[in-house]
């Protein structure tokens, strides 16, 4: 079937009478065409992150609505350990820096450094999640369960969703380290890493908002 005679393109003079620009394909460089100049993947990721803003917006609003409404059980000011959370927040923010270094190394085509920085980012993220697990355990010991009161439900839901996002980010980063460099992802490695980077930075920025609104502003 492959040796079916192919029609020659652009020969019909008749075509040019009606539609002078008809033979568009010949003018375009091969590869994907994109009307905006952004790649499909990147545009898709931006839209997903836009949607995520509303997800976290809803969760943060829920937390803010219920601030100070708790009637029984531990209250925020009695359980928060601001210095500890500040340190783990700092660790998470630093992971954005290493993510940038990973993307930059990927754009240079430096596989070794890319892998190094991706692993570092994942480790910093894991440190943050570890800190969150420690924090949750400490709160639980102080009597704040998920069902204890409004503060418990809304706090664990909000920070839990964020922690889940970080965890998914770590899984993606480690998968990248393993899969990408075994040649298992076709297409541009640098772009895939950049996309995961966008996600990672987004999750970090959300944490800045959560840390400020949930921890720093007294209720």
């Amino acid at each position: 079937m492959a040796d079916v005679t192919l029609a020659p393109a652009g020969e019909g003079a008749h075509e040019h009478e009606i539609e002078p620009h008809h033979d568009y394909a010949a003018e375009e460089p091969s590869g994907s065409h994109s009307s905006t100049g952004l790649s499909n993947n990147k545009l898709g990721m931006w839209l997903f992150l836009g949607s995520e803003c509303l997800l976290f917006g809803g969760l943060i609003s829920t937390y803010m609505l219920y601030r100070g409404r708790t009637q029984s059980g531990p209250r925020p000011e009695t359980v928060y350990d601001i210095p500890f959370t500040s340190v783990s927040s700092f660790v998470l923010l630093m992971s954005s820096l290493t993510m940038v270094l990973a993307v930059s190394a990927a754009h240079r085509g430096d596989d070794r450094r890319t892998r190094l920085w991706l692993t570092t980012t994942a480790l910093l993220g894991a440190t943050f999640v570890g800190g969150q697990v420690y924090e949750f355990t400490a709160f639980y010991r102080e009597g704040l369960g998920f069902t204890t009161n409004l503060f418990g439900s809304s706090f664990y839901t909000l920070t839990g969703f964020h922690g889940a996002h970080v965890t998914i980010g770590i899984i993606m980063l480690m998968s990248l380290v393993v899969i990408t460099f075994r040649g298992r992802i076709s297409g541009s490695k640098a772009e895939v890493i950049e996309l995961i980077g966008l996600y990672w930075h987004f999750v970090d920025i959300v944490w800045i908002v959560i840390f400020t609104l949930v921890y720093l502003i007294p209720s």
Binding site: E19, H21, L47, S51, L150
Partner: protein
């Protein structure tokens, strides 16, 4: 491998029969079937996916319609005995949920999936596998919801599922759990579908097609998808909170713990009001395509129709609390939301004016599609006017929870959204199937539905103003409710006959020969510039756009002497022209197993959340495996995937990333 391609002169063959995909890097070979059931369930062709969306949504439409008929039978006489109070609650919940989430939304998705790539001159959507994933996830969500009647009881909290009424105390069966998780699943489908269509529309337009040269249906689909991207996460949050309360004992809606029941209402309606425009704007787009074609005039004020659609999209975010006027928000909130609600009538009115002006002075051709489009203009306007009466909050406070509200939203949703969809069915049927629907039967279909809708929902205005409460399974005799309720029930069955006539019409058409001409309506946009049904790769050569209604301008030109329009080419000539200059290497994405695998994991996780968390873990593993298989499947064209280049140029034009 990722790429299947096809010599251009061999167009009648489906692409995968030309080159067998090579061994994928994932665990399995990619599926290759081009016929039979495998070619459907593993397909990532936007047209096949659109068809599957359409058939599934139509099935749910019939199911939801049967539920409506049961409700109407119960209410035909005072003190009805057909349904118990509990079953009645389940019926109206399932009816609302089915019609909104499993019929109108996926039906718009069906038409958008099928038509948008054709209308913008693309060969597929931006992420074909994600597209398949969206369909399967929607199906899984729908089936999951319909598991509930067999597993202890359907949800009985209404489609809005107000808390604390939806909490474990007032709704002890697992129905509400099925409802929250099913909507979570269909939400994932909507979100991925929305991202996919936005990227497709923004990125994959044919050269020369600027945003303001896009067909109007594509424009309205774009607005709808933006609404979905931002509205779906809000209901996701609400559903999570409710699930956590019901499944894990969280306190979000526990009033005794200090919770605020308004939280649910706000979250739900911040989603729920944009949702209204999600349901209607697609139909507005269809009507804006159909009216110009059958009035044989360009759409009057194209930019106004575009921008009023976008304005509705923006303003739709600022009116949600008009669903909550009776909840004691306070005078300032009520006044503000009253005002914004009145304002949003303005862009809607602009559209109505544009449609009327499009028809004005045109040579109208009353096909069934045109009848339904005019039907939308009339019935939607009635619903829109009663909607403005709700914006007046004192009047709304009186009408809240009466049948007046039911009358209003059925006029806008049935008379608006559904009529628009039917206009689309009749208009695009020959494009999709290469067969015409019977116009005579179509007229019967139309008139049964018009009479049916007005007979069903018209009397509800009266009943509502007389004070009949909605969501109440019986009404007493001698309150003056009997006559109009009986009329409404008769109307509902008239409506059902109308729908049945459509199904008969469709069935007869599909069994008949391919009799449709290439361009039966003398249409104006790109989707008519290819064969009917379209080739697997849509267009042999991607056309270049010079103006709105490009296809029309290729068929007709102004005579330089007389200044009148004259036909310069027929659709057949334009198609032959295109086929003669077919592109050499048309890369189409290969089918894939993974979208189905990942979707199949979702209801397993959901079932596990309700019954046993071990099942959830199994589901999560299925999803994880599916995602890794998906990620390892090549997603972009590789030079080696192509056949040896044929023809003089040897250049290849690949479809963008296969997502």
């Amino acid at each position: 491998m990722a790429i299947v391609e096809q010599p251009p002169r061999n167009l009648e063959l489906p692409p995968a029969s030309v080159v067998a995909p090579r061994q994928a890097l994932g665990a399995f070979r990619r599926p290759t079937a081009t016929t039979g059931w495998k070619s459907w369930i593993f397909t990532i062709d936007h047209k096949k996916i659109g068809l599957m969306y359409g058939f599934t949504a139509m099935t749910f439409f019939v199911v939801g319609g049967c539920e409506a008929l049961l409700i109407r039978l119960q209410l035909a006489r005072p003190n009805g005995t057909i349904l118990s109070a509990g079953t009645y609650n389940e019926m109206f919940t399932m009816h609302g949920t089915t019609m909104i989430f499993l019929f109108v939304m996926p039906m718009v998705a069906a038409l958008a999936n099928y038509m948008v790539p054709l209308q913008i001159g693309a060969r597929d959507v931006a992420f074909p596998r994600l597209n398949a994933f969206g369909y399967w996830t929607f199906l899984m969500g729908g089936l999951f919801l319909y598991l509930s009647p067999f597993l202890g009881g359907s949800p009985d909290c209404g489609w809005f599922c107000y808390s604390p009424n939806s909490g474990p105390i007032f709704s002890p069966t697992h129905g509400v759990d099925f409802w929250t998780l099913a909507l979570q699943i269909t939400g994932i489908a909507s979100l991925t579908g929305a991202i996919n269509l936005i990227v497709t529309i923004l990125n994959m337009r044919a050269p020369g097609m600027s945003l303001m040269k896009m067909p109007i249906f594509t424009w309205m689909v774009l607005v709808v998808q933006f609404l979905l991207v931002f509205a779906v996460p809000v209901i996701t949050v609400a559903l999570f909170l409710l699930s956590f309360q019901r499944l894990f004992g969280a306190t979000f809606f526990d009033v005794s713990a200090g919770a605020d029941p308004l939280l649910w209402q706000h979250l739900f309606w911040i989603f729920g009001h944009p949702e209204v425009y999600i349901l209607i704007l697609g139909s507005f787009g269809i009507v804006s395509e159909v009216l110009p074609v059958f009035s044989r005039k360009p759409l009057f004020g194209y930019p106004f129709v575009v921008f009023s659609g976008a304005a509705i999209g923006f303003m739709g975010w600022g009116v949600w609390a008009h669903h909550m006027f009776a909840s004691g928000l306070g005078p300032i909130s009520v006044a503000v939301f009253s005002a914004t609600t009145m304002f949003i009538a303005v862009p809607t009115g602009v559209k109505i004016i544009n449609w009327l002006a499009t028809m004005w002075g045109g040579s109208l051709w009353f096909t069934t599609a045109m009848c339904f489009a005019i039907g939308l203009v009339v019935e939607f306007t009635i619903g829109g006017l009663s909607g403005v009466t709700h914006a007046v909050s004192p009047s709304d406070t009186q009408q809240t929870d009466t049948y007046y509200i039911v009358a209003h939203f059925h006029y806008v949703l049935f008379g608006g959204a559904v009529f628009g969809l039917f206009a689309g069915f009749y208009y695009w049927w020959p494009k999709v199937f290469g067969r015409l629907l019977n116009e005579r039967l179509g007229k019967w279909n139309f008139w049964f539905m018009v009479v049916g809708i007005n007979l069903t929902f018209g009397p509800m205005h009266v009943l509502g103003l007389q004070g009949q409460a909605r969501r109440t399974y019986v009404y007493p005799a001698n309150q003056g409710f009997e006559f109009w309720n009986l009329m409404s029930t008769i109307g509902a069955f008239t409506l059902a006959v109308g729908v049945l006539l459509f199904i008969i019409n469709a069935w007869r058409s599909l069994r008949g020969p391919r009799n449709a001409p290439l361009d039966p309506w003398d249409a104006r946009s790109y989707e008519w510039m290819t064969t009917s049904p379209p080739k697997p790769h849509n267009f042999d050569a991607i056309p270049v756009t010079h103006s709105i209604d490009e296809f029309f301008h290729r068929k007709y030109a102004e005579d330089e002497e007389t200044g009148k329009l004259r036909q310069v080419a027929t659709a057949e000539e334009i198609l032959a022209e295109q086929e003669a200059h077919a592109e050499h290497h048309i890369h189409l994405p290969s089918p894939s197993y993974w979208p189905l695998v990942v979707s199949a994991g979702l209801p397993i996780v959901a079932l596990g959340l309700i019954y046993n968390h071990v099942i959830s873990v199994i589901g999560a593993i299925v999803i994880l495996l599916g995602v890794y298989g998906w990620a390892q499947e090549p997603s972009v064209a590789d030079a080696e995937d192509a056949d040896p280049p044929g023809g003089p140029g040897g250049e290849s034009k690949e479809l963008a990333t296969i997502g």
